[in-house]
């Protein structure tokens, strides 16, 4: 009995060890980035030097903030991500709801099919024609154009995601609301939407994170005025990094990545819900 217990404890410890190793693999690269960014500028550093907890300095952050025009790009990033989130709430949610409540199965299947088939599109397929179209219609380089482009990326995924949540709402509840004299819009706002609130949170959070991280559309479409942080840091790609720049890049990268990671850790439950639901079925 005792050996059995011991074996069980050992097995549990071994499993925790495996999971902890994976945890380290997940976070050590980011820890490296942050520690490197906190070291004095102008030195190539070996790994032990990066991980020695001494000689911290915020020099790199000052430089990244000024040289890299950080606040300006941050503003753009947040405008784009917030607008995407708003689009999800205002457009995608009602659309998903409407699709699940469609009378015609044929129509419903067609729409679901359309959404699914655009969901996997490589973004570069859209970005290049968009560049040419935007030029003609005068959206080139604007924040509005970029938000439209993000919509192409968000719409299929978010509608698909919300479909799954809405199809779980029993129709009988809505029927009784209609009988009580609610309009369809009231029914949607007062009855159905509150029932899918966790799903809605998940969708909004994911939309924000996806747009915040997006690079390709911004790189192709954004004029300088509309460029987000991801394009801001990309100016260090292929710039011939010197020792001085290594630290600045690390600081710049940390300032981009840390807020979004912390945010994700705080709301991780919703991300889990959203990703699980979005991956499997609608």
């Amino acid at each position: 009995m005792n050996t059995h217990k011991l074996r069980k404890a050992r097995s549990l410890a071994a499993r925790h060890a495996v999971l902890s190793i994976w945890l380290l693999i997940c976070i050590i690269p980011l820890v490296t980035l942050v520690l490197a960014s906190l070291k004095p500028a102008g030195l190539f550093m070996t790994i032990p030097e990066i991980f020695s907890f001494s000689g911290f300095s915020l020099e790199n952050y000052g430089r990244a903030w000024r040289q890299g025009n950080f606040p300006f790009f941050l503003r753009n990033s947040l405008i784009i991500a917030t607008a995407s989130l708003a689009v999800v709430l205002v457009v995608c949610t009602p659309m998903a709801y409407g699709i699940t409540r469609l009378g015609s199965a044929k129509m419903r299947n067609f729409l679901v099919f359309s959404i699914l088939s655009t969901r996997f599109l490589p973004y570069v397929v859209l970005a290049l024609p968009m560049y040419l179209i935007f030029r003609v219609v005068g959206l080139s380089g604007t924040l509005f154009g970029l938000v439209l482009a993000h919509l192409a990326m968000q719409l299929p995924f978010m509608v698909w995601l919300m479909l799954g949540f809405f199809s779980g709402v029993p129709i009988e509840v809505e029927e009784s609301a209609i009988i009580d004299g609610c309009t369809p819009f009231q029914t949607f706002m007062l009855i159905s939407l509150p029932m899918v609130l966790p799903g809605l949170n998940a969708a909004a959070i994911l939309a924000f994170i996806i747009s915040y991280n997006e690079f390709l559309f911004a790189f192709f479409l954004a004029g300088y005025n509309a460029q987000p942080l991801t394009v801001g840091i990309a100016r260090f790609v292929g710039g011939g990094e010197t020792a001085a720049q290594y630290g600045v890049i690390a600081a710049y990268g940390s300032m981009i990545i840390i807020p979004i990671v912390v945010f994700a850790l705080v709301v991780n439950r919703y991300i889990v819900t959203g990703m699980t639901q979005g991956a499997v079925k609608g």
Partner: protein, 296 residues
């Protein structure tokens, strides 16, 4: 879902459809149109219809075929790595004693980090701090093990592998999450009765649990497949075209053709071919979704 409906929900759907047409259908159709034209970056308004000439030039070009091969291995590699690692970790996490505990939730929160981390930053981080040949972490580790440093991203033999591994690191959470959620719902009773019959943990996993989540596996596989297929951000920041075009995936080739060589028409032809490939994958996904709906 009942087929009887009590109101016409088009008011909810239409805004989405209109925006979908503007942002998805129009670019795709126009992209196809551009792919049939000769368009140069330095004179964008000067568009000459050339039929399928751009496509023909692509299939004659060994470098395009090479890019197709690179994309194939990159996509397959990412999918296999992400699914296998995701499955393995989900299997450990869903065992009794860990599943559902606070520890599991703690792990899961941090396991999300690679997925939410900005790809461009991950790419630069990988290039400057992880795979860097002189100061990077990986060469430091293998140095501790007494091995010689490897060129990683600056060697054509290893660059694709490194890029694949880095992108997989980012995709594992997706697989892990779904598999964990699926495995955690398998009732203990099933596992226990198998244990009574003397089956080992491995047998139980492969013979009982795996078949029960096979639909999850196929969905996740397809999602990761398409996600790796379209990856641009990470590759651009991590390795670019790579030494000897070794990481020149199709997305990168489109960028390179469109901007560096200024041939927008040809770039559109490549991206339309990518659209075709993904359309096939999407149909497969839908078939699988139908199949799973029938089963449930």
């Amino acid at each position: 879902m009942a087929s009887q409906r009590f109101f016409r929900p088009w008011g909810f759907i239409l805004p989405g459809i209109v925006l979908g047409i503007i942002t998805l259908v129009v670019p795709i159709v126009m992209g196809f149109r551009y792919s049939l034209h000769r368009i140069r970056l330095y004179r964008l308004s000067d568009q000459v219809f050339v039929g399928f000439q751009n496509y023909m030039r692509l299939f004659d070009d060994p470098l395009f075929m090479m890019s197709v091969r690179v994309t194939f291995w990159f996509t397959i590699g990412c999918t296999i790595l992400a699914v296998v690692f995701g499955l393995a970790i989900a299997a450990v996490m869903s065992t009794r004693g860990i599943r559902g505990t606070g520890a599991a939730r703690f792990y899961m929160a941090f396991y999300l980090v690679p997925f939410v981390a900005t790809q461009v930053v991950v790419g630069m981080l990988g290039r400057l701090y992880i795979w860097e040949p002189e100061y990077g972490m990986i060469n430091w580790i293998i140095g501790l093990l007494g091995m010689d440093p490897v060129g990683w991203l600056i060697s054509a033999d290893t660059a694709l592998m490194v890029t694949t591994i880095t992108n997989s690191w980012r995709l594992v959470p997706l697989a892990l999450l779904v598999f964990y959620a699926a495995l955690a719902t398998i009732p203990d009773a099933i596992v226990e009765s198998a244990e009574v019959d003397g089956a080992s943990a491995l047998t139980i996993f492969f013979r009982i649990k795996l078949p029960m989540i096979r639909f999850h596996i196929s969905f996740v596989t397809l999602i990761i497949l398409t996600s790796a297929f379209r990856e641009f951000d990470l590759v651009y920041a991590l390795s670019g075209l790579g030494p000897g075009r070794s990481t020149n995936v199709l997305s990168m080739l489109v960028y390179h053709m469109g901007l560096s060589t200024a041939n927008i028409g040809l770039a559109n032809a490549i991206s339309f071919i990518m659209f075709g490939i993904v359309a096939v994958l999407a149909v497969v996904y839908i078939k699988a979704a139908k199949l799973s709906e029938m089963r449930e």
